[in-house]
Subunit: 395 residues, 2 copies
Amino acid sequence: VSWVPVPPDAPFGTAELPYGVFRVGDERPRIGVAVADRILDLAGLARAAGFDADVVEATSLNPFLALGPDAWAESRAILTSLLSEESAQDVVQPHLVPAATAVMSMPFEVADYVDFYASEHHARRVGEILRPGTPPLTPNWKHLPIGYHGRAGSVVVSGTEVTRPRGLRGGPGEEPLFGPTTKLDFEAELGWVVGAGSEGPVAVAAFESHVFGVVLLNDWSARDIQAYEYVPLGPFLGKSFATSISAWVVPLAALEEAATAPPVQDPPLAPYLQGPSVGYDLELSVELNGFRISRCPYASMYYTPAQLVAHTTVNGATLRTGDLLGSGTVSGQDPDQAGSLIELTRDARELLTVADQRRGYLEDGDEVVLRASAHGLRLGEVRGRICPSPAFSGS
Amino acid sequence: VSWVPVPPDAPFGTAELPYGVFRVGDERPRIGVAVADRILDLAGLARAAGFDADVVEATSLNPFLALGPDAWAESRAILTSLLSEESAQDVVQPHLVPAATAVMSMPFEVADYVDFYASEHHARRVGEILRPGTPPLTPNWKHLPIGYHGRAGSVVVSGTEVTRPRGLRGGPGEEPLFGPTTKLDFEAELGWVVGAGSEGPVAVAAFESHVFGVVLLNDWSARDIQAYEYVPLGPFLGKSFATSISAWVVPLAALEEAATAPPVQDPPLAPYLQGPSVGYDLELSVELNGFRISRCPYASMYYTPAQLVAHTTVNGATLRTGDLLGSGTVSGQDPDQAGSLIELTRDARELLTVADQRRGYLEDGDEVVLRASAHGLRLGEVRGRICPSPAFSGS
């Protein structure tokens, strides 16, 4: 129990203690921890206490992330203590900044960004919509978590506007058209953030030695550009224009109460994907222009985050501080639990009613907000508004 | 004409003036320029001349690359002058280090790594081998340069050993086996190195405002892992274990004499891929254990490097300093001009004679060296030896 009051509409409670990079006015960005509707200015607090504040005065979380799990646990224990003991209030209070006055930056520098396809419900539904009459899951789907590398340089923080991308679009084999996408979509995901790197394969059981925490992630997708380009080497320009993440990274330690058994995995997986690992009973919600259009159960994801990490590294690839692993679209079994418009509208063939409008894919001016919560925990939000494509000019 | 003598077996002449990061013994790595069989220690020279040496005392080329094209041209003009004027010899000579005594590091920090598939001969031949009876080129191939993101954290400098990767392998739809790849291959490529970033789309004509130079690139590939995983989201673990690049980055300015018209591009491309751009008349050579097994003509590449950059950014994605764009395997029309073993051996069905051995894919202990040259220019080398997979253990 903390002495910090939690207003009902506060973005966080006092148990999550997520880390982010904030500034107020023209100040230099620095590290903070969100507590209810405040930000605890770690740099200010450390400086006042006479501690070496290099790590928290950094403009990204990377130096803190690189310290590893013992330091993460110690930091969390100190914060929990300071925020629960009444005697610490006088010392801490001056360093609590109203969150509403802060401007948030990218919380960390992304090293490599990998995106997965780990929801069976999503994979099946997309397969049925795009390839009717063929088996919706490819034969490899239940043997490994399918993933691909995305563009790290296009990962942006919540609130950044997303410009409608241009490209060649059309169905496979069609004569392509060049222009702004007409099938702009979101994908509701979680993103797992690597803190401590690895020298080689990471066992499923070693997940918490390497992964620090989780962000909300919107893997914006241009379905018509993706459809034209993706055979044979996978998505490229249909995804690489923008990926939005939440400004706050929630530590794994905060998710313990949400841990749950993953779905039964049958057929049995290769040994490197076995071992103790958990799913998370979190619910993502999707709002379009202020109206909730979906609630997506993360507990239904077929592959666990620990399996995504084990798979990424089984070939000897290392992890680096700042690696980001997207879960893939989180979709539940029911059609209204889908985490993308291609599913919710069946590729714009069944329009969605949003307030008094009938809607297919995203229109200019639309704003999408993803949130997640579970067991009283709040995981923050990732927000993005669509801007029109500017007149085309290369420079 | 330079006063530096060029032995016949020197890795470079005096006209290329490539940049790299070197150290001698326990010294700190710093920036150098290769001249014949020497390295000009730019940090030492700048310090001796009383210049601010921050950029050349860096342990990567990124700060120099970020300076942009005017600074690159100025640096090259100064070096050319110093190395040609006899009067400069006394000043420069003390800062020429024998290249044989230096240890090379990664020349730059890779931001995003994109790999393309821009050789029509390669794409056709691989299509014929892997998908006999179907059209070898996918319908989109002549409308856009097909590319995908690779793993930036797995890019290593020439000389780094490459460990045979493990993974699930097999044909699409087959029951997969887990273990070390039995189809380990190289891909002979060039890699285009971005110096100055962009805020959005880069026109074909603006290539030289953003791209600093070129490296040799070996896109190591595990064909059986790739075959099993790549439908529907493209290559992942079959590529992400290692990508080797040369230690020296040759500036575009050195390649002017090798510039050549690209092949006729028919059907006509979308406007964003049009505009003045050149191919390069360079020949890559592939050596396996000291025996040349292929010579690959870069001039036959269907898409130009400027088109690869324009394509990567047309959707609004930005360029960052350190972005690396692989050309895709460089393969000529003749079967012995192929830049990969899958082509040269038709997926190990037609073994290659190397010295007195019959060879399919790469074996443990094999060493692959790629070199490139043209019009008297030398582009250096990228070298890698295969180590066996260690006993499997995650950590």
